[in-house]
């Protein structure tokens, strides 16, 4: 990549960023292998009427890290990922509930209440390592189970979908 092209890219980025409310409107096209496809009632798309994300795009969306234990793992784990509400803002979701599906065809509905700050995240790192499909990766919806007892219910466990690859906002 030339200096010029970099400068142009940076300028383009700046141009995109400056009108901030509008910034989310334009989703970049994924350059790597797509890991997540969001469809349904969304305002932002980059592939037809869906929004497709590769890992780099997710990593660029101000990921957060939470510490919690889970019933499927042993000991306290650290999970890094994009908060669900950040992801939904990015796609301009207008629905009340999202239907998440996994590679293994598991499907569950996650209501808008769980998209809150300090709520569920779409994790892509477990203990700082990317997660493979064999290890519930590459994306896993994780709640901070230890922070609130409400998160230690079967409903929440059922919403903790791993091997996530599709979301439909309804």
């Amino acid at each position: 990549m030339t200096l010029l092209s970099r400068t142009l890219q940076a300028a383009a980025c700046l141009a995109l960023l400056l009108p901030l409310p509008l910034a989310a409107q334009d989703l970049p096209v994924p350059e790597g292998e797509p890991v997540l496809t969001v469809s349904g009632a969304i305002g932002q798309t980059n592939a037809g009427d869906t929004a497709v994300f590769d890992m780099a795009m997710l990593e660029g969306m101000e990921p957060v890290t939470i510490e919690t234990s889970t019933i499927w793992t042993e000991g306290v784990q650290s999970f890094t990922g994009v908060p669900l509400h950040v992801l939904m803002d990015a796609v301009g979701a207008t629905g009340e509930v999202l239907s998440a599906k996994a590679i293994n065809d598991y499907a569950v509905d996650i209501p808008i209440a769980d998209w809150s700050e300090g709520g569920a995240i779409v994790a892509f790192l477990n203990n700082g390592e990317p997660m493979s499909t064999r290890d519930k990766g590459p994306l896993w919806v994780v709640y901070p189970y230890d922070s609130r007892t409400e998160y230690q219910s079967e409903v929440i466990y059922s919403r903790s979908i791993w091997q996530l690859d599709r979301i439909t906002v309804k």
Partner: protein, 854 residues
């Protein structure tokens, strides 16, 4: 009304209540424990520790089948390889979840799980290199993989079924555990409920009891209030500091302060005049300072009260303190006793007047009797003298009558005087050895003539073992017996009078004398009265028998004086029995000469004429005595009072001085002291006291004053003769007219008395003490300056010791020093002479002691 049952009931209620409370506490503790257990279980349930387990297990089945399907599709179409890889990864992930998830821990720990799981794990591990390898190799391995997975499906099925069964068991046991816990909790809750019900019941009963008590207390308070308000006395209630906390209407009336004015004020300040405050605080109200309950004798006292208007009046206060539940309260009843005090004063005054009147009468009677006795003595003495002259038979007869009437009169007068002495408390009983037989012989002898006149026989006898020597007051006893026998004779005609003597058993000291007559007897209603003073049962008898009615009254007093009792039994017409019981201890050892009076009598010389100084103020007595003395051939010099006697004694030497005791100007004792203290020629002459009633203590006083002996008035001629012969004899024996020789060195009779009274042991101890004391005193006196102010007292003290042990001569010398010291009449020669006298007396005392012990 007893307070115990309610108390007991209340106590039992409390005991039961505390038991229930304990039980409840236990139940609540258990419930809390159970609740904790339940909460934990609820907590476990509320934080579900698994998502859908069954689904996960079933999903493992599904996913292995999907892998198999993907493998078959890929065999047919190699473009489907990606699907194979994804399905493998999904299956791999599922098994990983089973291996690592917390919720499957139960499953993993079961041994049945490990075998199928091992097979699955081995397949996965073996297949990973193929899946991750290149497409060609994978395609080549697809048929084999498909076969393996088909086999594996059965194993996975087994795994999931086993898991389901395990979790079903776990959830069953969890459920039954929760059920058990809930049942236990219910039982305990039921217990708690029962306990609470019991507690409620018990509290209800307590409440009822309390309500009943409150009611009783209210009505009791109302009753007490009514009693307090109805009281005539002022009642005030004070707290610990004495401040009034309650009062009744009577208190308002008495002191004039309303409740509002009085409450809170100190009762002492309000109700009692200030001048008495200190006295009250130091006295009856000191309980406030001490904070204690007044003793019974402190509760009632009299003082002065004051009211709102300032009136001061006598009050009687009755006070007590109650300690109830730590609240201390003083209750005082206050009564205005002005009227009572006034009445008391009137009574006292009336009584004092009456007593003064009585006393004046008694004194008059005594005075009259005394005044009558002197002329009577004169009369009797004169009659005795008349017998010295030759008389006709008729004259002798008349003289007999006169003398008998005179003696009777004298007896009456003496009765009255005896009574007077009793009233003045001047009499004490003597204790000397005497012979009972001789006493009764004398009584019978004395009264025989009178008895014979009435045609009576008189005799005495011992009942029981006769005994002779006893210790007692023979003179008083004789007087009583004579009185009783005299009475018996008076009221018996042609009968008999018997005197019986008997020693009573028991303490062993009482002797009973009974005077039994066969006379008229006494009616039962009179038996009590006869021992009263001036009591004559029948005036006609009294006239016939004569008497003041004092006889038995005096006898009663005399017997009482001797520590005895007197009584009478009688039957009218059959006779009377008078008895007296007096303590007369036996005298076991009879010392020789103890019976003899302490006189200077010796039998060696016949009567020789003596120079006698007669000191007597009464002219008749003087005349009688002079006549008696002169008829015996003595030479008499008269002195009309003590002063005159002293003057005569200083002027001339007499052989003996007869000294009346009570005289105007100067009495006999004083005169004797002066004669002894002076240096006249008669300073050492024997002095004989002449007195009407020579009591033992009086005789001791006479001896103290320097008198040598004593003779009773009226002077008995025989006694006088004997006495004077003794004087003469003593003088003749000594042969030296030295004044000190008039007295013996040692009065052995006195020592014998001492020995009788105290016994040899105590007497020995006393003598040795006396020796030590007198040794020291004499040595000190010998070295004392004649002008020393203490001399008189020292001499007196030493003289006292000498007197007790019969050291007559030394005692007299000391007496002279004692009297002389005050007037400066003592020389150092007198003091020096003491040593000599003491050596002499000491030797005599030791010699006597040796003799008496031998």
């Amino acid at each position: 009304m007893s307070t115990t049952p309610p108390d007991k009931a209340r106590r039992s209620i409390w005991t039961r209540t505390s038991a229930i409370i304990l039980l409840l506490a236990f139940c609540m503790g258990t419930v809390a424990g159970m609740a904790w257990v339940v909460l934990r279980q609820i907590d476990e349930l509320s934080t579900a520790n698994s998502d859908n387990l069954q689904w996960s297990l079933a999903q493992a089945d599904v996913e292995v089948l999907q892998l198999e399907l993907a493998l078959r599709k890929a065999i047919a179409d190699p473009a489907q390889l990606g699907e194979v890889r994804r399905r493998f990864d999904v299956f791999y992930s599922r098994i990983g979840t089973l291996e690592r998830g917390d919720v499957f821990r139960t499953l993993r720990s079961a041994p049945d799980f490990s075998e199928p799981h091992g097979a699955v794990r081995a397949f996965l591990d073996d297949t990973v290199p193929l899946i991750d390898g290149d497409d060609a190799q994978l395609i080549a391995a697809l048929p084999d993989l498909a076969a393996q997975v088909a086999d594996l499906a059965g194993t996975v099925r087994e795994l999931s079924l086993f898991g389901l069964a395990t979790f079903a068991r776990v959830s069953d046991s969890q459920r039954s555990e929760i059920t058990g816990t809930l049942i236990r909790l219910s039982i305990i809750l039921a217990g708690l409920l029962a306990g609470l019900s019991l507690l409620t019941y018990s509290f209800r009963r307590l409440y009822r009891t309390a309500e009943r008590h409150a009611h009783v207390a209210r009505s009791s308070e109302a009753r007490v209030r009514a009693i307090v308000e109805a009281a005539v006395d002022a009642i005030i209630v004070c707290d610990e500091a004495g401040a009034i906390v309650d009062m009744n209407e009577a208190a308002r009336r008495l002191f004039g302060y309303t409740r509002e004015q009085a409450l809170g004020r100190r009762a002492l300040d309000l109700y009692f005049p200030e001048v008495n405050h200190d006295e009250l605080r130091a006295g009856p109200l000191r309980v406030f300072d001490n904070g204690r309950r007044p003793a019974p004798e402190e509760r009632l006292f009299e003082t002065l009260g004051t009211d709102a208007s300032g009136r001061v009046f006598p009050v009687e206060v009755s006070m007590d303190r109650t300690d109830d539940d730590a609240e201390v309260i003083y209750v005082a009843h206050i009564r205005d006793i002005s009227h009572r005090k006034a009445a008391e004063e009137d009574l006292t005054e009336a009584r004092d007047k009456a007593l003064a009147g009585e006393r004046a009468k008694a004194e008059f009677l005594a005075l009259m009797s005394h005044e009558m006795r002197t002329p009577l003595n004169g009369l009797l003495g004169t009659m005795q003298l008349m017998r010295d002259h030759s008389l006709t038979e008729r004259q002798t007869d008349l003289l007999d009558h006169m003398q008998s009437s005179g003696r009777l009169l004298l007896g009456l007068v003496n009765d009255v005087l005896d009574l007077e002495k009793f009233e003045a408390g001047k009499l004490t009983a003597e204790s000397r050895p005497f012979s009972v037989s001789r006493l009764l012989d004398a009584v019978v002898e004395t009264t025989a003539a009178l008895a014979t006149q009435g045609g009576n026989e008189i005799a005495w006898s011992w009942l029981g073992t006769p005994e002779d020597r006893v210790l007692g007051d023979t003179r008083r006893l004789r007087q009583v017996l004579l009185n009783l026998v005299g009475n018996a004779i008076k009221f018996t005609r042609a009968g008999s009078i018997d005197i019986e003597v008997e020693r009573l058993g028991g303490a062993g000291e009482m002797v009973e004398f009974r005077v039994v007559d066969t006379g008229v007897g006494i009616a039962p209603e009179h038996l009590e009265r006869i021992f009263n003073d001036f009591e004559t049962l029948d005036s006609s008898y009294a006239r016939r028998a004569g008497g003041t009615g004092l006889g038995l009254g005096i006898a009663r007093r005399l017997v009482g004086l001797m520590g005895g009792t007197i009584g009478v039994e009688s039957e009218p017409g059959a006779g009377s029995l008078f008895w007296i019981r007096v303590p007369l201890p036996r005298v076991d050892q009879v010392p020789s000469g103890a019976d003899a009076p302490a006189t200077l009598v010796t039998e060696t010389a016949a009567g020789e004429p003596l120079e006698v100084l007669l000191v007597e103020d009464n002219e008749i007595n003087r005349f009688v005595a002079r006549a008696m003395l002169e008829s015996d051939g003595h030479v008499v010099t008269e002195a009309v009072n003590g002063q005159a006697g002293v003057e005569w004694a200083e002027a001339r030497a007499f052989d003996v001085i007869l000294m009346d005791v009570s005289m105007p100007v100067m009495d006999g004792q004083e005169a004797t002291r002066r004669i002894r203290a002076g240096a006249g020629p008669s300073a050492g002459t024997p002095i004989i006291a002449v007195t009407a009633h020579a009591l033992p203590e009086e005789v001791a006083r006479f001896r103290e004053a320097g008198m040598d002996d004593c003779i009773s008035k009226p002077i008995d001629r025989a006694a006088l003769v004997t006495l004077l012969r003794g004087i003469r004899g003593a003088e003749a024996n000594e042969g030296e007219p030295v004044r000190d020789d008039a007295s013996p060195v040692l009065d052995e009779a006195q020592l014998a008395d001492l020995l009788d009274t105290l016994g040899p042991e105590a007497t020995g101890r006393l003598i040795s003490r006396c020796l030590t004391e007198v040794d020291a005193s004499i040595a000190r006196l010998a070295g004392t300056d004649p002008g020393d102010a203490e001399l008189s007292a020292a001499a007196h003290k030493c003289a006292g010791s000498c007197a007790s042990f019969g050291l007559v001569r030394l005692r007299e010398a000391l007496g002279r020093i004692e009297t002389g010291a005050n007037s400066g009449g003592v020389t150092s020669g007198d003091l020096g002479q003491l040593g000599e006298l003491w050596q002499e007396g000491r030797a005599a005392l030791l010699a006597w002691q040796a003799r008496s012990q031998a």
